[in-house]
């Protein structure tokens, strides 16, 4: 029996993810995703604020949360890595620089979309026929690459953003697309706004500029002043073969093993009470989860937990292979289980967690 108050993932949510994945929102210009978010949440929110940086801050409706409800912030970043056009070489050839962490080895041979109109372009490469001895062993530096938009009559301007042009698709159990980091989180958070847990005051932060230094989350955390926060993001799954077939000790997370709970990353030591609470929720309800291997990387939690007097924070991520490339691969089941874990964990929260031992 399905309960209409509990968020789930069905065709409608996958269609929304597709729309979000295909939209272009490079850090600093999140307009296209912001527009989708606003459209989705407007009929469900008690209050919506767009702040000075472009964050969408949503105060959700409360049903029976009482007079002093626990203020729970859930965060998902709207922005994605991409490029900015920095010079027009004419003849449709545009020089560009990266925005966010992009491996330049990922660029040759890609389709891109440029500017607010998402104009098509390509990043080509010198023909292999003309490469010199040893040249294929060297990276093609980004300075040598151009985005080629054809003869479009100067429609693209210096300052325009660009990103990968990959179209979202579902392949078997997998979701394949660009910017699944963090549109998986954005779509999930939209569902939570539509189905907020009844026992708390849910504060949804759709943030900007995560990929260039968690800049949106910092002010969002301040504005919302939550009692605790959960960042929902996407984290790399390096569950791939090692070149010499040795055991892969550095997988970070594995596809299909469920939501990845963060214990420690480069910017955050997750609040141990929240780590425990998430794990216990998973155990109690039979929702699979995994612990992300402690190490580098980071999420908006890195900014949020240090706002005001401090905010107990944790991150939960949907694992994804090949993040920050033209095509990330994630598992539908991991996304579903992340939504379930976050929803039920929040539903089981009360103020006692703030006074519990660490």
């Amino acid at each position: 029996m399905s309960d209409a108050t509990i968020p789930t993932i069905a065709a409608e949510q996958i269609a929304l993810l597709e729309k979000l994945s295909n939209a272009c929102a490079v850090s600093g210009d999140e307009q296209q995703v912001r527009r989708i978010v606003l459209d989705e949440v407007k009929d469900h929110a008690a209050g919506i604020k767009i702040d000075a940086l472009g964050n969408v801050l949503v105060t959700c409706q409360t049903r029976d949360a009482g007079p002093n409800p626990l203020r729970v912030m859930i965060d998902a970043h709207m922005d994605e890595v991409g490029f900015m056009i920095v010079e027009d070489d004419k003849e449709g050839l545009l020089r560009f620089e990266p925005v966010g962490g992009i491996d330049e080895r990922q660029l040759p041979g890609k389709v891109v979309l440029v500017g607010k109109e998402n104009l098509p372009g390509v990043i080509g490469a010198k023909p292999i026929h003309l490469t010199e001895e040893g040249e294929t062993g060297q990276k093609i530096p980004i300075e040598a690459l151009r985005i080629d938009v054809g003869q479009n009559g100067g429609k693209v301007k210096v300052g325009d953003r660009a990103t990968f042009g990959t179209r979202f698709r579902q392949i078997g159990p997998s979701l394949v697309g660009k910017a699944l980091d963090d549109r998986l989180g954005v779509a999930l958070l939209i569902e939570l706004v539509k189905h907020p847990p009844a026992n708390v005051q849910l504060l949804a932060a759709f943030t900007v500029q995560e990929e260039i230094g968690l800049r949106g989350a910092r002010v969002a955390g301040y504005s919302l002043a939550p009692d605790l926060a959960i960042a929902v993001d996407s984290t790399p799954a390096f569950d791939l073969p090692v070149w010499d077939d040795h055991e892969n000790g550095g997988y970070n997370t594995r596809l299909g093993d469920g939501p990845a709970i963060y214990i420690a990353d480069a910017g955050t030591l997750s609040d141990p009470r929240l780590i425990r609470h998430l794990a216990q929720t998973g155990e109690a309800l039979g929702i699979p989860y995994q612990f992300r291997q402690p190490g580098g990387g980071g999420t908006d939690a890195g900014a949020i937990h240090r706002t005001r007097a401090g905010v107990p924070s944790v991150s939960v991520s949907i694992p994804g292979r090949y993040a920050h490339t033209a095509a990330q691969v994630s598992r539908l089941s991991d996304w579903e289980n992340t939504l379930a874990l976050v929803y039920h964990a929040v539903s089981r929260l009360d103020r006692s967690i703030l006074s519990a031992e660490r």
Binding site: G92, L93, D103, R105, Q106, P108, G109, K110, V111, P120, G121, V122, I123, G124, A125, K126, P127, I128, H129, L130, T131, T136, G137, Q138, K139, I140, A144, L145, R146, D148, V149, G150, Q151, N152, G153, K155, T166, R167, R169, I171, G172, P173, S174, V176, P236, F238, D239, L240, P241, V242, W243, D244, N248, G250, R321, Y322, T325, A326, A327, V329
Partner: protein, 356 residues
């Protein structure tokens, strides 16, 4: 009859790697059927279309060769985890492969992407460098047992980038090398339908150019043309090419000059282009044209060849770019050349020093 751009985009959406050209040959056959009198497939898989001329038997003949095969990859190993390692078919720069959408032609077609493993999973000596082909693999997103059941070594892996229009009558996609020339030959056949021509015309979509030149070396042996034109793509100016090796994109076709080109044919084409006021550039290749002409020229007792080239950016990448105008110009130039061929032309193909 399909509009030329639509036809070209259909062609580049099809696989048809060297040695396995069936999918693209079938589409070309359908397009050529109303344009030719006879259609046959050669022993190595090239498509031969004969359009008879109006001259009395026996007539001289011209062969137009455009290779239809595409570069790509071939599976070499499927791991327990369902990842597919591969090798190349034709010349593939591994630096264009990471995150490329591909289609694995196993017992079923499986879409996938080329995965670049993170440096920490690679040998220390190669970290931070472009990842060599031996360390790249295809991720289909499917459960390992399904992949292991459906894919085995030898299965083809084709580029799966979708054809794209770019402003200025440009088309982008993979395999424009050399499906663009197949489209040019098709445009020529369409024009010839409205024209009188004395000579027989063999339109040939050759197989295996990218690997062995098998098509270029065998079709002329069977057809024994009096002269041949190899139509292929050439490097357009753009990122990475600014010197003499690059032609202007959309600025006209290139008449290629070098050892595979017969001087008399070259002069005839050049005179024709000037007379028709068709924009063209002259391109020089000091040693090899890198086209079917390398094969055709040395078939049987030797065949006089011309090399026509259509400028293309980013050759052998999934985002090759070509100007449809240049494709049409190549078709028009061949049709006009053929229409101008009289019974005397064969005897005029001489060396300068022995004329008169």
């Amino acid at each position: 009859m399909t509009d030329l751009k639509t036809f070209l985009k259909e062609l580049i959406a099809l696989p048809g790697l060297s040695g396995y050209e069936d999918p693209v040959r079938e589409r070309i056959e359908a397009e050529w059927r109303p344009l030719v009198d006879e259609l046959t497939t050669s022993k190595v898989g090239s498509l031969h279309g004969l359009r008879r001329g109006s001259g009395p038997d026996p007539r001289p003949s011209i062969l137009l060769a455009a290779h239809m095969d595409a570069i790509g990859m071939m599976a070499t190993r499927v791991t327990q985890d369902g990842f597919i390692y591969f090798t190349e078919v034709g010349g593939v720069d591994p630096r264009i492969l990471p995150s490329m959408p591909v289609m694995v032609h196993g017992r079923k077609k499986l879409p996938g992407i080329v995965a670049q493993p993170p440096d920490k999973l690679l040998p220390p000596a190669v970290r931070g460098k472009p990842v060599e082909m031996q360390y790249l693999f295809v991720d289909t997103g499917l459960p390992p047992e399904e992949v292991r059941e459906l894919v085995r070594p030898g299965d083809l892996i084709s580029f799966d980038t979708q054809p794209m229009d770019l402003p200025g009558d440009l088309v982008a996609g993979h395999s424009l090398d050399n499906r663009a020339s197949v489209a040019a030959v098709t445009a020529c056949l369409q024009e010839l339908k409205q024209m009188e021509h004395f000579w027989d015309v063999y339109a040939v979509a050759t197989a295996q150019e990218e690997e062995t030149l098998a098509g270029g070396l065998t079709s002329p042996y069977v057809l024994r043309p009096s002269v041949a034109v190899a139509v292929d793509v050439t490097f357009a100016k753009g990122p990475g090419i600014s010197d003499y090796r690059g032609r202007g994109l959309g600025k006209g076709i290139a008449l290629s000059w070098g050892p595979n080109t017969h001087p008399h044919l070259f002069d005839s084409f050049k005179a024709l282009a000037e007379r028709l006021d068709l924009p063209f550039e002259i391109e020089v290749y000091p040693r090899y044209s890198g086209t079917d002409a390398m094969g055709i020229q040395v078939v049987a007792e030797g065949i006089p060849c011309m090399v026509l080239s259509i400028p293309l950016r980013y050759m052998h990448t999934p985002v090759e770019v070509i100007s449809l105008k240049d494709v049409q110009r190549a078709g028009r130039m061949m049709a006009q050349f053929i229409a101008g061929l009289g019974p005397e032309f064969v005897d005029q193909i001489r060396w300068e020093e022995v004329k008169e």
